[in-house]
């Protein structure tokens, strides 16, 4: 009975973290990057994790993005217990459900802009050429050529988009452009957006703000009357 309940609860949220910890290193030198963090994130939220360097933002985003696994605790992403996924399943899960906006763009140099945006549809989702073209053109129309990084994350209609310090290397104007694109994408696709930042210019743009310090969740702010938890 309790198991069924837990599953139902997980399905109501895009992310459910329960006492998640992450340690690095081993033996005598262990770095505790995250210490028993618990939170839930609703679908179509625009969430930011803030905190100084070393607070555990990137570690948390990596765990949510199935790029790494918690040392302790439970983590459910888009209704899936990600701790149970192996390498192959993790990759499949990321391709099917997640979008990534990288700080350094991380485009594939041998592909054109169009091909970079198209890449997840070909290699990951194996979508037919006609449909691919339609989707890439639609994304380019919505996003423009300005941010191929966002376009690539959006093209496969992910349920959850993760962005680690997306505006770290950008000037204010471009940073706001990116944030507005992300918001527009959230509104259109009803995707959940989670980004980490310590950029004060964009902290205020998040609708839900989680504060991290020394690997612990130390606060939560909800804007626009959207309160949860």
């Amino acid at each position: 009975m309790s198991l069924i309940l837990a599953e139902n609860i997980s399905k109501d949220y895009q992310v459910v973290a329960t006492k998640v910890s992450k340690d690095y290193g081993g033996g005598e030198v262990v770095v505790r990057a995250l210490r028993g963090v618990s939170f839930e994130i609703e679908p179509a939220s625009f969430v930011s994790f803030v905190g100084p360097s070393g607070s555990g933002k990137t570690t948390l985003l990596n765990l949510i993005g199935c790029l790494d696994k918690p040392t302790e605790g439970n983590l459910t992403v888009v209704g899936t217990d990600v701790l149970k996924l192996d390498r192959h399943e993790s990759a499949q899960f990321r391709g099917d459900n997640l979008g990534f906006i990288f700080q350094d763009f991380n485009l594939i140099p041998v592909l054109t802009v169009y091909e970079n945006i198209e890449y997840p549809l070909i290699i990951v989702k194996n979508i037919a050429a006609g449909e691919r073209r339609k989707r890439v053109m639609a994304v380019l129309e919505a996003v423009g050529m300005a941010d191929q990084n966002v376009a690539r994350a959006r093209v496969s209609d992910p349920k959850l988009v993760l962005a680690d310090e997306p505006t770290a290397n950008l000037d204010s104007k471009t940073a706001y452009t990116i944030i507005n694109l992300m918001k527009k994408m959230r509104d259109e696709l009803k995707s959940t957006f989670i980004f980490s930042t310590h950029d004060q210019r964009i902290v205020g743009e998040a609708e839900i703000l989680y504060s991290l310090a020394d690997g612990e969740l130390v606060g939560k702010q909800v804007k626009g009357g959207r309160e949860n938890g």
Binding site: N62, G65, L67, D68, R87, H88, A91, Q92, F93, R94, G95, D96, L98, G99, F100, F102, N106, I108, P109, V110, L111, Y119, P120, I122, I123, V124, R152
Partner: protein, 413 residues
């Protein structure tokens, strides 16, 4: 698949100089192997042709025990007329046989009335012998390219040593089967160029003259040399004939015949095997060159693209597809190298053929012009080896790339 291929090709062109060097290395390896295989193969085939087409024939049938005593040319181990008839009957029914020639081999004294020496002779039917060993007429350097009754073809060294010329009268004296001695006068009809190998310095007389010298009432032959329509079937036909003749036994119940292919009769077979072995070693060398160069390039490619691998892995590319991308690069390098190597190799072989530069001596045969040929099967096998080794060489780096943790790869600087 097409997209993975496209990415692989583009990645190759990303590092043009490195790709060019690797492809050049593979192509040079392929050119060397093709050149070696072609030249050594042509040399081997030419030598086998010289041996089989100018002396031995493709295979021979003797009376059981003859070959073991062949140096003595024992007349008492000749095939009896009935056995010859039976054998000819069998050979006439075999579709694989192009021609055969019965021979009486005997030793005798050769006298020019001034000097005397010993000589080994073959008594043959000229038409049958010329069909069975078609290069024999070309070995007649002086005189008519034929052999008539009362004429003798003598090896050039004998002619030179005995100062015998075309048209000279000579006497052959030979010991008969019963131990008596008989002689017969012959006219020198032709001088034979020496050939390397067994029988390369033998003389020829008409088989009926040989019977006369040896005082044979009925024809008893030392051997029957056989030429097949297809040289490639020598081994199979030797086995077939052996089994056909295995039922023929002597009065004592022992096998009457023995069948030997040219390989068993000529020492050159061992040289031919050595050439084949050296070809294998050269191919191993090529494999090593391709293996090391591709592995080196692919390892570098993986290390240079760690962040890129992290990115594609993060956005959901399955490990198997990452592996395929790198294997495909190795495959493309192998294919490009093999194709270029084959094209240049063919061009070089063509030039060698047109120019006739490659000449060699084989025993006393001087300045034989080698015509290297490229066997399409060889080209395919060498290309397949190169491509297969390229794929194998890229597997280890590709596996490394596919097993990379995306999080570590993304952090890589």
């Amino acid at each position: 698949m097409a997209n993975l291929f496209k990415i692989a090709v583009r990645n190759l062109f990303r590092y043009k100089r490195r790709t060019l060097l690797t492809v050049a290395l593979i192509a040079i390896g392929v050119i060397f192997v093709l050149g070696y295989v072609s030249i050594s193969g042509s040399f081997k085939n030419m030598m086998i042709g010289q041996i089989t087409d100018s002396m031995i024939g493709h295979l021979q049938v003797h009376r059981k025990g003859y070959v073991a005593s062949i140096e003595n040319l024992p007349l008492n181990l000749n095939l009896k007329p009935q056995a010859v008839k039976k054998l000819e009957g069998i050979l006439n029914q075999q579709s694989e046989v192009e021609a055969y020639s019965p021979r009486i081999k005997f030793g005798g004294m050769f006298s020019t009335f001034v000097e005397t020496t010993n000589v080994r002779l073959n008594g043959v039917y000229p038409e049958k012998e010329f069909k069975t060993i078609p290069l024999l007429p070309s070995r007649i350097t002086e005189g008519q390219k034929s052999l008539n009754r009362g004429e003798i073809l003598i090896p050039e060294l004998l002619a030179r040593g005995m100062k015998a010329k075309i048209g000279d009268m000579v006497v052959i004296v030979a010991t008969n089967q019963d131990g008596s001695v008989n002689g017969k006068q012959f006219k020198v009809g032709g001088i034979l160029e020496s050939a390397t190998g067994p029988g390369g310095r033998d003389g020829y007389v008409h088989i009926e003259d040989a019977m006369e010298v040896l005082r044979m009432g009925e024809m008893e032959v030392s051997e029957i040399a056989i030429r097949l329509k297809d040289f490639g079937k020598v081994e199979a036909f030797t086995r077939k004939l052996d089994s056909l003749l295995s039922g023929e036994v002597t009065k004592q119940g022992k096998p009457a015949f023995e069948v030997h292919s040219w390989e068993q009769l000529s020492p050159f077979y061992n040289i031919a095997r050595m050439i084949d072995m050296m070809t294998v070693f050269i191919q191993i060398l090529l494999i090593a060159v391709v293996l090391i160069s591709i592995m080196n390039v692919m390892i570098m490619a993986v290390y240079e693209r760690i962040r890129e691998i992290g990115t594609i892995a993060a956005i959901g590319t399955l490990p198997a597809k990452i592996l395929s991308m790198f294997v495909m690069e190795g495959f493309c390098l192998g294919v490009i190298g093999a194709v270029i190597g084959n094209i240049i190799g063919m061009a070089i072989i063509f030039i060698l053929n047109v120019s006739g530069w490659v000449t060699f001596d084989f025993g006393r045969q001087k300045d034989l012009v080698l015509s290297p040929t490229l066997d399409p099967t060889n080209m395919l096998v060498i290309s397949a080896i190169v491509i297969f080794v390229s794929v194998v060489a890229s597997l280890q780096p590709a596996l490394k790339a596919s097993k990379m943790e995306p999080i570590k790869a993304l952090r890589h600087v």
